[in-house]
């Protein structure tokens, strides 16, 4: 087990370096002079030259990359052009909101998807199955921002059950915070639920066809135990793979959902930074979001080993 963890962890480092390289190169390729953006109205040739030397922008590009990487690792992420505050501080300030949104959305997705998938699989080709699968293909085809707009329209504007675009931090009032997070979490979670439900159904169908399920029934186990203990556990293994891949979509979706609901998370902040050309923020946003994806993939791999001990041995 520990060897497996170590092997996965060792894989993290080159991938992380790859990510930083892509982000660094992307920032290099952006047209325009970063010094001009930093100094804005205070621009003079002399000041620009001083800043260039200070930031190492007069050095060769590979050297710049190494210097930049060093600053990144040591926590010196630069200053936001817009807010004039340290980038790392801004990111850490907003990270909890995004993490809460992701956790709630993933929880909502799984809580909806697993029962729907299981019920569809144990009653295949019935009306129930067809309606569930029709709903899921609709769910997959819905863009988050349209689903979010519809939920806002119905539950905030018309029924007025839930607040629209405002936010209460979790530290201030948990109940109010959850009321504000419900629609964003559903907006982000429902399309994922649709996809996961289809997968749970398919892998349940496959598992329930196997001999050991017949054996479990033959020894007189209740149908409930056969499905929930014997079939579901094996059916969840391929599902976990997909859930892992879905985290990438969740991160992308969180950017859209945060912008739509005006949540003060990293996603909406990243988009603001892009639209206003706050490049130190943009690169921090890209690195944090992709590193989060990287870490979650490793976590998913670890979950496998719990679900399926055979994987550890390979």
């Amino acid at each position: 087990m520990s060897r497996f963890v170590l092997k996965r962890a060792a894989f993290l480092i080159p991938t992380f370096l790859g990510i930083t390289l892509v982000v660094f190169m992307a920032m290099q390729m952006i047209p325009g002079d970063p010094i001009l953006a930093l100094l804005q109205d205070n621009y003079t040739e002399e000041l620009a030259q001083q800043l260039r030397v200070k930031l190492g922008l007069d050095r060769p590009v590979p050297v710049q990359y190494v210097m930049w990487l060093k600053r990144l690792v040591t926590g010196d992420w630069g200053t936001s052009i817009l807010s004039k505050r340290p980038v790392l501080e801004e990111i850490l300030h907003r990270l909890p909101v995004t993490l809460e949104l992701l956790v709630l959305a993933l929880t909502a997705a799984l809580v909806i998807a697993v029962p729907v998938g299981v019920i569809s699989a144990i009653r295949p080709n019935t009306f129930l199955d067809y309606s569930a699968m029709t709903l899921t293909i609709l769910g997959i085809s819905l863009p988050e921002f349209f689903l979010g707009a519809l939920l806002l329209l119905v539950f905030s504007l018309n029924l007025q059950w839930l607040p629209a675009t405002s936010f209460v931090p979790i530290s201030e009032n948990l109940w109010q915070n959850l009321r504000h997070m419900l629609l964003p979490a559903l907006t982000l979670g429902l399309p994922r639920a649709a996809l996961i439900a289809r997968l749970v159904r398919n892998s349940m169908l496959e598992v329930t066809r196997q001999d050991y399920i017949d054996a479990a029934r033959a020894k007189g186990l209740s149908e409930f135990l056969v499905i929930n203990k014997h079939a579901l556990k094996n059916a969840l293994i391929p599902t976990v793979t997909v859930v892992g891949l879905q985290i990438g979509y969740l991160i992308g979706g969180a950017i859209i959902v945060e912008s739509l609901f005006a949540l003060p998370g990293i996603g909406s902040f990243g988009i603001d930074a892009i639209l206003q050309r706050d490049y130190p923020m943009v690169q921090a946003f890209a690195i944090v979001a992709s590193s989060g994806f990287l870490l979650s993939n490793v976590l998913v791999d670890l979950v496998y080993t719990v679900l399926d001990p055979r994987i550890r041995l390979e």
């Binding site: 990510i19 329209l153 892009i274 890209a286």
Partner: protein, 291 residues
């Protein structure tokens, strides 16, 4: 001898297409998707003829109208006919969906072929680059590329193509590796057939099934991505009609006129749904094992 084998090969390929089509025809949902998609395609092509107004034509004194006979989908804040904008908007969606996937396939498939066929250092270099690209969440990578390229619908195509190239390269490489294990590849080598013939006649056709399935389903994802980028203000720029950016403009006005959001949003839903239904059917028809 070689002539005869060529004709049987052609026959096989034709029968595979025919077989796929026959299986596809049996699936009602897939055929429904196909019909709807053909209709949407026709709407995009004939937008100039069908649309009652120009996409940017502002009708004085008719701002924010609810749906009526005169304006079946109402009008927006500038007095533009929403139906006409939705009709013209289909052009951007379909253009981005197809062109980006075409670019990704045209570059990604040869990359995968080369990596899988030559192996060794070439494979290592290509696949490590692919791994790094795949380490980014799809939408984040698209956003990052848009930051570099600048917002426009053509750049959205380029960004989505770059995002999908590693995905196709990886699928094709995997297929090539398994095809090389087949006995007929030994026969091909023993016969001394030229490399490019091996590539195009013996390896490529056998890789295409999974590529077609992934490409057809990814067109839907690309259309969603274009709409999402435009929704965030990073894709198609106003006043060009795009469902995503029109929906963005509608959000603030939803309380007054919800139809402004509902029609462009439904257009995205119907388009992506038709592609997903068709792609699902195509996957089952080409190779049920891929399910």
């Amino acid at each position: 001898m070689s002539r005869k084998s060529k004709t049987t090969e052609e026959m096989d390929r034709q029968s595979m297409i025919r077989l796929t089509w026959r299986r596809l025809k049996r699936r009602k949902t897939a055929m429904g998707g196909l019909v709807v998609f053909i209709l949407l395609f026709a709407v995009a092509l004939l937008a100039d003829v069908i649309a009652p107004y120009g996409p940017n034509e502002m009708i004085p004194g008719e701002q924010l109208r609810a749906p009526s006979w005169r304006h079946p989908m109402g009008t927006d804040i500038l007095g533009r006919d929403v139906l006409s904008r939705v009709i013209y908007g289909s052009r951007i969606s379909i253009y981005v969906g197809f062109v980006s996937m075409l670019m990704a396939v045209l570059i990604g498939v040869p990359m995968g072929l080369v990596a899988g066929y030559y192996g060794k250092i070439i494979d290592q270099v290509i696949m490590r680059a692919v791994d790094i690209m795949l380490a980014f969440p799809i939408f984040l990578l698209a956003i990052l590329i848009m930051v570099v390229l600048g917002a426009s619908s053509t750049n959205v195509c380029v960004a989505l193509a770059i995002v999908y190239i590693p995905r196709f390269a990886r699928i094709v490489r995997g297929s090539v590796l398994s095809i090389r294990e087949n006995e007929y590849m030994e026969a091909v080598e023993a016969l001394g057939i030229r490399k490019w013939r091996v590539f195009f006649l013996h390896i490529l056709p056998n890789c295409l099934a999974p590529v077609m399935v992934v490409a057809s389903l990814s067109i839907g994802v690309a259309i969603l991505a274009e709409a999402s980028l435009s929704f965030l203000g990073m894709g198609t720029q106003p006043p060009t009609p795009s469902w995503g950016s029109d929906l963005r403009d509608a959000i603030g006005l939803m309380e007054i006129n919800p139809w402004l959001a509902i029609f462009p949003g439904s257009a995205i839903l119907v388009t992506v749904l038709s592609i997903n239904l068709l792609g699902d059917g195509l996957r089952d028809a080409i190779d049920p094992r891929l399910k």
